[in-house]
């Protein structure tokens, strides 16, 4: 088993070195996938803190009835920026960034297929975010039309300020970066795999990133076109979305959600990938039903393209359209349920080690299922008509995106931090972070289901002193403060562990995928030698030559 095969061919273009003391310039000019990945993670952490601060200000404003802690104008700007930031500048770029870091390592490659394009993607994301946040410093303030910027509110003459224009420009720039990332990922996964790493052997995270990247390639141009139309409306006086001049406000909704619904799968599929890596390693078992997890991802990707109008039941599209979109949306529960069963079956009978990554991974399953169940409920038209635009919806998508994506992101950070930095995150602080997150998250959002059913509208600046509304909102606000505290512990953990964390070694979790075969952090060229790939768990095969996953499999 000592036979090691050489590295994939060197890139034709020389890459910058990662030597110490190269300073800021070595980062700014970098086209190394690991450096670019780390830059994504740092920038998304900053946006996470900003978006979290905006959320806390919203919760303070809502802590008791009739509050005037914020002005109504600032409140509108804050909830718009909170949603936009968390979706486009935290969850999405985090997942793209962690993908950029890990994909080449997981498939045994030297770098991405197009390292310069990779850098372009990052800088488009970076400057897109700055363009968006610059709007706070303009006279008219930040965008204040909600994260989906419905027309005609986002159009002249209802929005005389420039906020929506900054919003569209910033997202246009970062969106083009996302398309470039998607293209780069797809070509990397399809052409850069080390010999033996067939499509049936790539880690499930890579499968999820492949489907996500295809969604980026095919779905972002929908919103790019819509942003272009919105900008033409606001700058050149075009009339796409202005009903007063023959345009159509509903068209914006169709275009936005034609992108917007697949977008939520762009946010959750890589999270599924993280969970599909973490759960087997901490259950000490191979993933149960690899093919089903991969195939159900493809099914989700395809279904996600045909369900957009379930966001528009309140428009009144007619019974036929409502019935179709309701049914198609409910269908997504099937491939999603397949995954949940696979994860549970992987844990079943395993020797489970509840280290912090696994705690977040396990909690992910539970919290995400809550968001999934409310999702099936509101896919039903009559229920949607009752709770639409209420706090029930806010609770639903926070369970999906925070309870789902962000819990998986935390699992991924604790799991791969040793690989990124060479040091372990503190388990003690990790457990504090985990339990405060679980308590704070559920305290904040579970009660919002009830507030929604009781009729509290989302995005409301304040509310009358209705029975129980004040106390329920106060509970939610206290939960948000606990959540804020948990994030501070998380950041503290990162800062402390970077300096004083326990040295990790190459493979602290005894994991099986290729990224753990190299040093932590990996050298510039990633691998000295790529281990032979004869199955889905190359490092298991290497350590147990007498009982490989695929007996008799050839290397190449």
């Amino acid at each position: 088993m000592s036979s090691r095969i050489p590295l994939v061919p060197e890139n034709a273009v020389p890459l910058p070195s990662l030597k110490a003391n190269n300073g800021l310039l070595s980062w700014v000019s970098s086209i190394d996938h690991k450096q670019i990945g780390i830059m994504y993670l740092i920038i998304t952490l900053i946006y996470f803190l900003l978006g979290g601060l905006e959320a806390l200000l919203i919760r303070v404003q809502l802590a008791h009835p009739g509050n005037d802690f914020l002005t109504p104008e600032l409140y509108n700007q804050l909830f718009t920026m909170h949603g936009t930031t968390m979706i486009f500048f935290v969850v999405m770029p985090f997942l793209i960034g962690v993908g950029v870091y890990l994909l080449p390592l997981m498939i045994g490659a030297r770098d991405m297929a197009f390292p310069r394009l990779n850098a372009l993607s990052f800088w488009l994301f970076f400057f897109g975010g700055i363009l968006l946040y610059y709007s706070f410093f303009t006279q008219s303030g930040a965008p204040d039309v909600g994260w989906f910027a419905y027309a005609p509110l986002s159009e002249k003459p209802f929005s005389l300020n420039k906020g929506p224009t900054y919003w569209a420009l910033g997202l246009l720039a970062s969106g083009i970066g996302s398309v470039a990332s998607g293209l780069n990922n797809v070509v990397t996964i399809l052409t850069m795999r080390t010999p033996g790493m067939t499509m049936r052997r790539i880690p499930l995270f890579v499968w999820m990133m492949l489907v996500t990247s295809l969604l980026l390639v095919f779905v972002i141009p929908i919103i790019t076109a819509a942003f272009a139309m919105m900008l033409l409306d606001s700058i050149l006086g075009a009339t796409f979305f202005t009903p007063a001049h023959g345009g159509s406000a509903i068209l914006w909704q169709h275009f936005f959600w034609g992108f917007g619904h697949p977008e939520v799968y762009i946010l959750i599929l890589p999270a599924f990938g993280i969970i599909s890596e973490v759960i087997p390693v901490f259950s000490r078992k191979p993933i149960y039903g690899y093919e089903f997890v991969a195939a159900s991802t493809v099914a989700i990707g395809l279904l996600s393209l045909g369900v957009w109008a379930h966001h528009m039941f309140a428009v009144g599209l007619g019974n036929a359209a409502n019935a179709y979109f309701s049914l198609a949306s409910m269908l997504i529960a099937i491939p999603t349920g397949v995954k949940v069963l696979n994860w549970v079956a992987t844990m079943w009978g395993g020797r489970i080690n509840f280290a912090t990554p696994m705690l977040f991974g396990t909690a992910f399953i539970i919290e995400f299922v809550v968001g999934g169940l409310t999702g099936v409920a509101i896919a039903s038209v009559p229920i949607d008509w009752v709770v639409t635009d209420s706090y029930f919806i806010v609770a639903h998508f926070h369970y999906a995106i925070f309870g789902g994506s962000v819990f998986a992101i935390f699992a991924g950070v604790y799991y791969w931090f040793p690989k990124f930095t060479g040091r372990m995150l503190s388990e003690t602080l990790g457990k504090w972070h985990f339990w405060l997150t679980v308590i704070g998250f559920n305290m904040t959002f579970f009660i919002q289901h009830f507030l929604g059913v009781m009729g509290m509208p989302r995005r409301t600046y304040t509310y009358y002193d209705m029975p129980y509304w004040g106390s329920m909102n106060l509970i939610s606000t206290i939960g948000a403060m606990i959540l804020g505290l948990s994030v501070l512990i998380f950041v503290w953990n990162i800062l402390v562990s970077l300096r004083h964390g326990r040295p990790a070694g190459d493979n602290p979790w005894n994991a099986w995928t290729l990224e753990w075969a190299t040093t932590s952090p990996p050298a510039v060229e990633n691998f000295e030698l790529v281990p032979p790939v004869r199955g889905r768990r190359p490092l298991w095969d290497l350590a147990h030559p007498d009982m490989p996953d695929e007996p008799g499999a050839k290397t190449v």
Partner: protein, 183 residues
């Protein structure tokens, strides 16, 4: 490397969705204009049709350029790239004529929803043609500098793929805007 052609293939797929949205917007508002300019009362399908022939012909010449490279005929490679640039430039000139004629009659992007969708769709297509012309000019410069030894070049093949795409988009756009209005 197959990488580059695969990248361009997926890029073209992505761009197709972008143009699909612009075309859907045009189709959505087709017939909803009750007064003011429309495709029927303000466009000239014959003139634009003739200029379109130049663009369609340029797809043929860029194919001949690639064929010349495969045969290691470096002189004809340069000739056919130059011919492609000229044909594309004539098409863009025709687009400019049409636009200025419309603007003279005060038909603008803000006049009504026909103007909005027409100028957006033809404008983004024209922008893509211009980007193609810039890339073809770079290609010509590199060919003159003797960069392409043949028989294969990713740069020639990728830009040629892109150019066919721009041409193909115009087949659809021309059909939707002009043929639909006048046939």
């Amino acid at each position: 490397m197959a990488n580059n052609r695969m990248l361009v293939g997926f890029f073209i797929a992505s761009e197709s969705i972008f143009f699909l949205m612009l075309i859907l917007a045009y189709v959505n508002f087709h017939g909803s204009v009750t007064d003011g300019p429309t495709a029927v009362n303000s466009l000239n399908p014959v003139v634009t049709g003739i200029f379109s022939l130049f663009l369609f012909a340029s797809s043929f010449t860029i194919w001949l350029a690639g064929k010349s490279l495969r045969n290691k005929n470096h002189f004809m490679l340069k000739v056919w790239i130059l011919a492609t640039i000229v044909l594309g430039a004539v098409f863009i000139f025709g687009q400019g004529l049409e636009w200025s004629g419309l603007l003279d009659k005060n038909i603008t992007i803000s006049r009504n929803v026909f103007g909005t969708t027409f100028f957006t769709l033809t404008g983004f297509h024209g922008f893509h043609v211009c980007v193609g012309l810039i890339m073809l000019s770079l290609l010509l410069g590199l060919a003159l500098a003797g960069d392409f030894k043949g028989p294969k070049s990713d740069a020639v093949e990728c830009i040629s793929l892109y150019w066919h795409f721009v041409d193909g988009v115009w087949v659809v756009v021309f059909s939707v805007i002009y043929l639909w209005a006048f046939l």
